[in-house]
């Protein structure tokens, strides 16, 4: 069965650079979530989209933005990167807002 696809899997950026993470949800899923997970921590909710509109906003820094496109894929744009942004970034998708979300394998971002 098709799963959530995230790209790239690994990314190394320097401080103050920008990064774009991509997420391709499971076909027919209309909801996308973004999470940030630091080492030994639980996933922290950043933002979610339902039917291409932002549905909920969590602890997403102002330096980050995201959107969901007409084909339902989503991109997380991160600017002015800081060392503390180094983490695993997960995308998850679901069919509707109240059903289980399925996670991708994550993008490991390292800021040096």
């Amino acid at each position: 069965a098709a799963g959530v696809i995230q790209s790239p899997r690994h990314l190394i950026k320097e401080k103050r650079e920008t990064a774009t993470l991509k997420c391709y949800p499971i076909p027919r899923h209309d909801t996308v979530y973004w999470y940030q997970q630091g080492p030994g921590q639980d996933p922290q909710f950043l933002i979610s989209f339902y039917e291409k509109m932002q549905s909920d906003k969590g602890s997403i820094p102002d330096r980050f933005s995201a959107q969901q496109f007409s084909d339902y894929h989503s991109e997380l744009n991160m600017s002015s990167l800081e060392l503390g942004d180094s983490a695993l970034y997960f995308c998850a998708s679901s069919l509707g807002l109240n059903t289980e979300a399925f996670f991708g394998q994550g993008t490991r971002l390292t800021v040096v």
């Binding site: 639980d42 998850a92 109240n98 979300a101 996670f103 994550g106």
Partner: protein
Amino acid sequence: EDQVTQSPEALRLQEGESSSLNCSYTVSGLRGLFWYRQDPGKGPEFLFTLYSAGEEKEKERLKATLTKKESFLHITAPKPEDSATYLCAVRTNNDMRFGAGTRLTVKP
């Protein structure tokens, strides 16, 4: 403020030693509770969805239950391959919020 608390933080079991993990929540508007398993460096893997108090779901050695204030994940006769971090997540009116997880180690 919405809160999801999991206990214990870590649990070490012998193979075959059954136990339970707890997820308690204080949220405004529970729209669903989800259990996930996460292996190091990988994305959370979906296990169960629970929507209403009294509901139970079962899969192999795992059984999840839900009350109005908490959920339990019961592990019966665990095997070493059940070793992982178990996360519970709560869908509220505002977000899908995770607990800190229980790190389970099952020794042969």
